[in-house]
Symmetry: C2
Subunit: 354 residues, 2 copies
C-alpha cells in the first residue's frame, strides 16, 4: 500500500501586535499534531496595521485572490494603536477582516464557549457551561450600508443600515439547527430584538420557525438580546446553541468569553459551510497593542482555533488531540502563575506530542 | 406666612402584568414621602397589552395629548404573553413605550447601577459598583426607519436604519458630561462600535471629543460595545458615567442590572432635560407575564424610579429619603426570604414614614 500524503494549503495572516505572537504558538502546535499523511503548506501574508501604515495597502485584490486559492486560513489579530491619527477607525476592520469574511462568504461565525477545568470565571456560580454561538457573518449591521450627510457640521446625519435577507438568514439558521441536532442537549436559542427591530426581527423569526418544523427533536427558545445579557450572567449553563445576527453575535460572544474565563480562551471559526472558499480561523481577541511585544498574551485561543480548523478539515482526531491538550494544560496551570506566550505554546505542544 | 401648596400632575401608566403590581407599591411609597407642601394629582391611564387586546387601541392621539399636559409620568411595564398571535411583536413597544419616549423627546434615558449593601451580584468579586448609563433615547436603531421587501418570500430583504444626527448626539453627550462633572470621580466612557459602524461612530466620536474640550476636569475613555461586555463582568467598578447609543444602551443596562444584583432593582428615567414635555420614570424590567398576578415581583425598581422622579422634580430630600429607605430595606432582607410585592412596598413605606 503506497502512502498518499494529503497536502493542504494554509494561508497564515499573523496580523499585528499579539496576533503574531499567538499565531507562532498556534503553528507550533499544528506542526506537532499533524498525522504523518497530512502536510500543511503555509504561506504567510503580512497584512494589518503595520503594512497599512508602511504602504497604504489594506488588502490588495491580488492578495485576496491568492488567499482564495488556499484550503484554509489562520488569522492572528489585526489592529494598530487606538486613536492613531494615521489609522482611521474601521479601515482595517472593514477593509481586511470583514472584507475577508464577506468575500469568502463566511456566513457561519462559529464561537464555542466552555468553562474548562481550571479556567477562572468571574461568576460566583457559573455551573457547567458548554455552548456554541452561531453568529451570522455576512449581513446585518456589518454590511457597510448607510452613509453620512453634511459630515462635520451641526447638521450631520449619519446612518447605518442593517441588511437582512431571507437567503442569508435561512442558511445560517439551517446550520445552527443542524449543529443543535448533533449535540446531546439539542437546544437552540434565537437571540434578536424582534420587539424593536421589527423588520429584521420578523424575517429571523419566520425562518427560525420554518426551519424548526424540520427539526422536531431540537427544542427551541427565543430571547431578546437584552434578556440574553441577564441569562448569560445568571445562568449561562442553560445555553446549548445560540443563533443570532452579526452585531448581537459580536456582543454576546465577548460576554460569553468573559463569563467562561476570558477572551484569552475564546476561539472562533469564520466558516463557509458550502466550501466555495476557504474558511478562516482566529481567536476572538484583538491585537492588544498595550501588551504587544511582551510575550504576555495567552495563545490558548489561537491554539483552540487550530482545533476548530482541524475539525473543519475533517481531521477530527487531530482536532480532539489539540483540545484535550489545552484542557489538560489549563487544569495544570497554577492559579496566578504568569506564563509567557511561548511557555504556554510549548506546554500544549509537548502534551500533543507526548 | 401662608402655606402655599405645590401641585404636580402625575400621569400613571401601570401597564400589564407585574407592571400594575409594582406601580401600586411605588405609589404607596410616594404617598408617604411627600412633604406637606407638595401634592401629587395622579391620573391613571390604562394602556398596554390588555387595552390593545380588548379595544385595538395602543396610544390614541387624544390620550397622548392628555398625558403631555402632566408634569411627570410614572410607568410600570407593558407587554403581553410572548408569542400571542393577537399581539404582533413591537406593536406595544413601538406604538406605546417608544412612541412616548420619542414624542415627549426623552433623549436622556438615565439608568443608574449600583451594588447596594445586601444585593446579591452573580459576580464573585464585583467591587464597589456605582455608575450611571446615559442612553440616548430618541435616535439610533430605534427610529423605526427601514422596511421590508418581498415579505414572506425567499427573496425577502428587511432593513433597519440607525439614524444618528449631530443634533441628537451632541445634546445627550452634553448631558453626560454635565453629569460626570457633578460626580466625585468625574469619569465618562463612550461606548460604541466605531470600528464597524463608521458613519454613526464618527459622529459620536467627533462630538464626544468636541464637548470633552469644554470639560477639562472630566477624564474620558472609549470602549467598543464588545469590550464593554468584558469590563462589565470583570471590573464593573471602573465605570462612573457611560454614554452610548439607544441600542447599545439597551443591551449594556440589562447587563449592568444583572451584575449589580438583578433587574428587580434597576430603575430608569426617560428624561427630557429641556422640560418641553413631561419626563417618564419606569423600572427597567418588563411585565413578566410568567409571574403576573402572583404578587411575587420585586417592586424595588419601581420604587427607585420614584426616587429618580422626585430628584428630577427638584424634590431632592424626598428622593434621598426613598433611596435611603430602599438601601436600608435591602440590607435588612434575609437572604433567601421570599417577600411578596406588597410586603416589600410596606417595608419601604414604613421606613420612609418612620
Ligand atoms: C474587530 C471587529 C471588526 C470584529 C467584529 O466586530 O466582528 C471583532 O470584534 C470580532 O468579534 O471578531
Ligand atoms: C421594551 C423595549 C422596547 C425596551 C427597549 O428596548 O428600550 C426595554 O428593553 C427597555 O430597556 O426599556
Amino acid at each position: 500500500m503506497s502512502a498518499t500524503t494529503q497536502s493542504l494549503k494554509l494561508a497564515v495572516i499573523p496580523g499585528d501586535g499579539i496576533g503574531t505572537e499567538v499565531t507562532a504558538e498556534a503553528l507550533k502546535v499544528l506542526e506537532v499534531v499533524m498525522p504523518a499523511d497530512v502536510k500543511f503548506e503555509p504561506t504567510r501574508y503580512d497584512l494589518g496595521a503595520e503594512r497599512y501604515l508602511a504602504t497604504g495597502e489594506v488588502l490588495p485584490d491580488s492578495v485576496l485572490e491568492e488567499i482564495r486559492q488556499h484550503d484554509v486560513i489562520l488569522l492572528g489579530a489585526v489592529g494598530g494603536k487606538p486613536n492613531d491619527p494615521n489609522l482611521p477607525p474601521g479601515i482595517l476592520e472593514r477593509g481586511l477582516l470583514l472584507r475577508l469574511r464577506f468575500e469568502l462568504d463566511h456566513y457561519v461565525n462559529l464561537r464555542p464557549s466552555r468553562i474548562f477545568p481550571g479556567s477562572v470565571s468571574p461568576l460566583a456560580n457559573p455551573g457547567e457551561v458548554d455552548f456554541v454561538v452561531v453568529r451570522e457573518g455576512t449581513e446585518g449591521p456589518y454590511t457597510g450600508n448607510g452613509g453620512a450627510l453634511r459630515v462635520g457640521t451641526p447638521q450631520e446625519v449619519a446612518t447605518e443600515v442593517s441588511v437582512n435577507t431571507a437567503f442569508g438568514v435561512e442558511r445560517v439558521v439551517r446550520d445552527a439547527f443542524a449543529r443543535a441536532q448533533r449535540r446531546p442537549r439539542k437546544k437552540l436559542t434565537l437571540v434578536h430584538k424582534t420587539n424593536v427591530l421589527v423588520n429584521a426581527g420578523s424575517v429571523w423569526w419566520r425562518l427560525f420557525q420554518e426551519v424548526a418544523a424540520e427539526y422536531p427533536e431540537v427544542s427551541t427558545d427565543y430571547m431578546h438580546i437584552d434578556a440574553a445579557m441577564i441569562f448569560m450572567t445568571t445562568d449561562p449553563a442553560r445555553f446549548d446553541v445560540i443563533v443570532t445576527d452579526n452585531l448581537f453575535g459580536d456582543i454576546i460572544t465577548d460576554l460569553a468569553a468573559a463569563v467562561t474565563g476570558g477572551i484569552g480562551l475564546a476561539a472562533s471559526g469564520n466558516v463557509n459551510p458550502d466550501r466555495t472558499a476557504p474558511s478562516m480561523f482566529e481567536p476572538v481577541h484583538g491585537s492588544a497593542p498595550d501588551i504587544a511585544g511582551q510575550q504576555k498574551a495567552d495563545p490558548t485561543a489561537a491554539i483552540l482555533s487550530v482545533s476548530l480548523m482541524l475539525d473543519h478539515l475533517g481531521l477530527t482526531e487531530a482536532a480532539q488531540k489539540v483540545e484535550a491538550a489545552v484542557i489538560a494544560d489549563l487544569a495544570s496551570r497554577e492559579p496566578g502563575a504568569a506564563l509567557s506566550t511561548p511557555e504556554i505554546g510549548d506546554r500544549i505542544a509537548a502534551r500533543v506530542a507526548g
